[in-house]
């Protein structure tokens, strides 16, 4: 059955690509999953007590664990995030700390430019969730620092739940009626924060295949006051051409402190592929690695990607574990220097908390924004800042309420496990060149 084996191996490769593509674009897509989250963690995640541990074993066998706390500016903070797919004896630590690092909202008419985290206190606007907003899940009560309504500092505002994602993989078996397939499951953690009339859904989606999706969805109402027919910087929403909603931009920044295998000393790598055409012959494509050893302001580019490589951990194939940054669709805002790049790698400095308008005291003369922190320092403890922009030219459908518009990105495991973490037992021996070296 030599021929069949080759085709099977090829199909497996194709499936892996499909999963990666899904990871890149997955934001919504809730299925009718019957979710059964566990209220009480079986064991506390390292580094916090059980009450502040979030733990979910998905029905496909993968367990995610993390600690949570809540901040006035950044809102939800997830820490000590670990991933334990089926077959791994122990949790694999992925991130030490993950949170929003700014939501920058400049309006096209130049009259308003908001920093929702650091000027408003994004975290203080945590909203109570109705049970129906967290289908099949658990809504945790959060003690909000300096809550907007001091009479109600405890907000039912943190939803944890699960959803079906559709195919994790599919592969036709040798016989016509044998299909290997799994419906992937996601673990979701989200909050709703109101900033003025806007409501932001901050969603962390942990897939059973190790991918993490970070997305912010803006909903609520368009600013009820920014209607102006005169300046040509809006789109008419009411009858005729009178009520123009002012167009604006949302630049969302995330800050990720990686700690693969428990080490903060991961390495950053950039890969670029260059296609060369050869006249009538088939084009070739060559991929090159650039080690990012010093702080970098990175620009997304066709056929470019980055990964964070574990300083200590290897998978069972003896390959260094890593996580790849999978960019989401973005509209880069040229109006400010900190929004002019897609990703920043900076050396860990605990006073650098916000991508712009940084508030903590880093000492006299220390810059206040992420692009200025990139100054040639050697990266031994890299911090990753990701900027995803969305230019919102409102449309009639945005009233009312405004449909959620999402922006975000993913990180996907690369060599964290030796094989597909959800590989069925019958295929467990198909690792590498399954044809015996031909």
């Amino acid at each position: 059955m030599h021929v069949n084996r080759i085709s099977r191996a090829r199909r497996r490769g194709a499936v892996a690509l499909t999963v990666a593509a899904l990871a890149a674009g997955a934001t919504a897509g809730a299925g009718p999953a019957v979710a059964q989250p566990k209220a009480a963690p079986s064991a506390a995640a390292p580094g916090c007590s059980a009450a502040y541990t979030i733990e979910q074993k998905l029905s496909t066998g993968t367990t995610w664990r993390m600690c949570w706390h809540y901040e006035r500016e950044a809102g939800l903070v997830l820490e000590n995030i670990s991933y334990q797919p089926p077959g791994e004896a122990a949790p694999i630590k992925v991130l030490a700390d993950a949170k929003l690092a700014q939501i920058h909202v400049p309006y096209d008419d130049g009259k308003n430019e908001y920093s929702d985290l650091t000027q408003y206190g994004f975290g203080t606007g945590l909203m109570n969730m109705q049970p129906g907003e967290c289908p099949g899940g658990t809504i945790k009560t959060v003690k909000v620092p300096d809550a907007i309504d001091p009479a109600h500092p405890n907000v039912k505002g943190l939803c944890t739940t699960t959803r079906s994602r559709g195919h994790a993989f599919r592969m036709q078996g040798d016989s016509a009626n044998k299909v290997f397939q799994t419906q992937g499951k996601d673990f979701l953690v989200y909050t709703v924060n109101q900033v003025g009339w806007y409501e932001y859904i901050t969603e962390w989606r942990f897939q059973d295949d190790g991918t993490i999706n970070m997305n912010v969805g803006a909903t609520g109402s368009l600013s009820p006051y920014d209607y102006d027919a005169g300046d040509g910087r809006g789109w008419p929403l009411g009858k005729g051409a009178t009520a123009y909603a002012t167009s604006h931009q949302h630049d969302v920044f995330w800050k990720l402190d990686f700690a693969l295998d428990g080490s903060s000393k991961g390495r950053v790598e950039q890969y670029d592929s260059a296609v060369t055409t050869h006249g009538a012959n088939t084009p070739t494509n060559k991929t090159t690695l650039t080690k990012v050893t010093k702080e970098l302001a990175g620009d997304a580019k066709n056929m470019r990607w980055w990964r964070i490589v574990s300083a200590t951990g290897k998978n069972k194939d003896n390959h260094a574990r890593s996580y790849e940054i999978v960019p989401g669709p973005t509209t880069k805002y040229p109006g400010r220097s900190f929004t002019q790049h897609d990703v920043y790698f900076t050396q860990y400095n605990k006073c650098e908390q916000f991508a712009s308008d940084n508030l903590p005291n880093c000492g006299a003369g220390h810059p206040k924004q992420v692009d200025k922190w990139v100054n040639g320092q050697t990266l031994t403890q890299p911090v990753v800042w990701v900027n995803v922009g969305f230019h919102h030219i409102a449309r009639d459908e945005d009233q009312q309420p405004m449909p959620v518009h999402w922006q975000g990105f993913s990180i996907a495991p690369r060599d964290v496990t030796a094989m597909n973490p959800l590989t069925p037992a019958a295929l467990a021996d198909q690792n590498g060149n399954v044809n015996g070296g031909s």
């Binding site: 009718p32 999953a33 019957v34 979710a35 209220a39 916090c48 007590s49 009450a51 502040y52 600690c67 706390h69 006035r72 700390d97 009259k111 308003n112 650091t118 000027q119 408003y120 206190g121 203080t124 606007g125 909203m127 109705q130 049970p131 907003e133 099949g136 899940g137 658990t138 809504i139 945790k140 009560t141 620092p145 300096d146 907007i148 001091p150 939803c159 739940t161 003025g196 009339w197 109402s221 009820p224 006051y225 209607y227 102006d228 005169g230 929403l237 009411g238 009858k239 009520a243 123009y244 428990g262 903060s264 400095n349 605990k350 908390q353 508030l359 903590p360 005291n361 403890q381 009312q400």
Partner: protein
């Protein structure tokens, strides 16, 4: 906060604007200096003039959500005296941090938003680890406490080690403006209400509720910190940034938002100004 939200009630929104083009369903109201968007609970299935009139059908909702039970609410965990590792700060820890951070000298030399003795407390947060502790699961637990000193317009931050009780770091910054605390928002609203420029806010409140606005307690208050930019404000607000200034986003409790963004309250100078640009 607003109980409407997703599904359930259909809400009716009325936009009232002055001196500007208004939204399709809006009606203009004269005589107010600020603008208001009124959000009223409507009856199920109620039409919205100019809108689609399509109520969120409960049958449709049930069909979409089939198989998933509504979320189960968990109460906030009971707090011990001390948190563990990366747990949120307990109330006890927060109080202790404030006490450790404000010594007699700081208390005597500083001023809060009311002009009284003692710094204005802004925030107490769990601190991030030092670089050499990043991979140490037993890193010391610390808190960062942030104050605003109205005496000299400085942000004072202190890092307190919760294990040792020591203040490990103190920093002072000028020209940095963290988000306003609730106490500052209340003070800003009082200043605006006491100023002739607050007339529009009062008028809009009355328009929306039928009642007089006499106290900030009648409002839910949030704010954006304001920093002066060239051409945007009159002279009275030029120091915003060095001074602590806010723009209020008032919302009637269980009622509409009132737009007061054209007004800036300089909490340092205790003055109100109107944006011009």
């Amino acid at each position: 906060m607003d109980p409407g939200g997703v599904g359930g009630n259909v809400r009716r929104t009325v936009h009232r604007h002055l001196g500007k083009v208004v939204a399709g369903t809006a009606i203009a109201v004269a005589g107010t200096a600020v603008m208001v968007a009124v959000t009223l609970p409507g009856t199920a299935g109620a039409d919205e003039s100019g809108g689609t009139g399509k109520a969120a059908g409960s049958a449709q909702q049930a069909a979409d959500g089939v198989g998933a039970a509504p979320g189960v609410v968990q109460q906030a965990p009971a707090e011990g005296e001390k948190g563990k590792g990366r747990d949120p700060l307990t109330d006890d820890e927060t109080k202790r941090v404030e006490q450790l951070a404000v010594n007699q000298q700081f208390l005597n030399s500083s001023e809060n938003v009311d002009g009284k003795r003692g710094p204005q407390r802004l925030d107490v947060e769990l601190a991030d680890p030092n670089p050499d502790e990043l991979d140490n699961p037993n890193a010391p637990r610390r808190a960062d406490v942030t104050f605003y000193d109205y005496k000299d317009d400085t942000v004072v931050t202190k890092t307190v080690n919760l294990d040792t009780g020591k203040v490990e770091q103190t920093g002072t910054q000028h020209g940095v403006q963290p988000p306003a605390s609730h106490a500052e928002n209340v003070e800003a609203a009082e200043l605006l209400l006491a100023d002739p420029l607050g007339a529009g806010l009062k008028a809009d409140y009355k328009d929306a509720t039928g009642n007089e606005l006499t106290s900030p307690d009648q409002l839910l208050l949030t704010a954006m910190v304001y920093k002066a930019t060239p051409g945007r404000q009159s002279g009275v607000l030029d120091q915003c940034g060095e001074h602590r200034c806010v723009r209020l986003f008032p919302k009637v409790k269980n009622g509409p938002w009132i737009d007061a963004r054209d007004f800036v309250i300089d909490l340092s100078a205790r003055k109100v100004g109107k944006l011009t640009g």
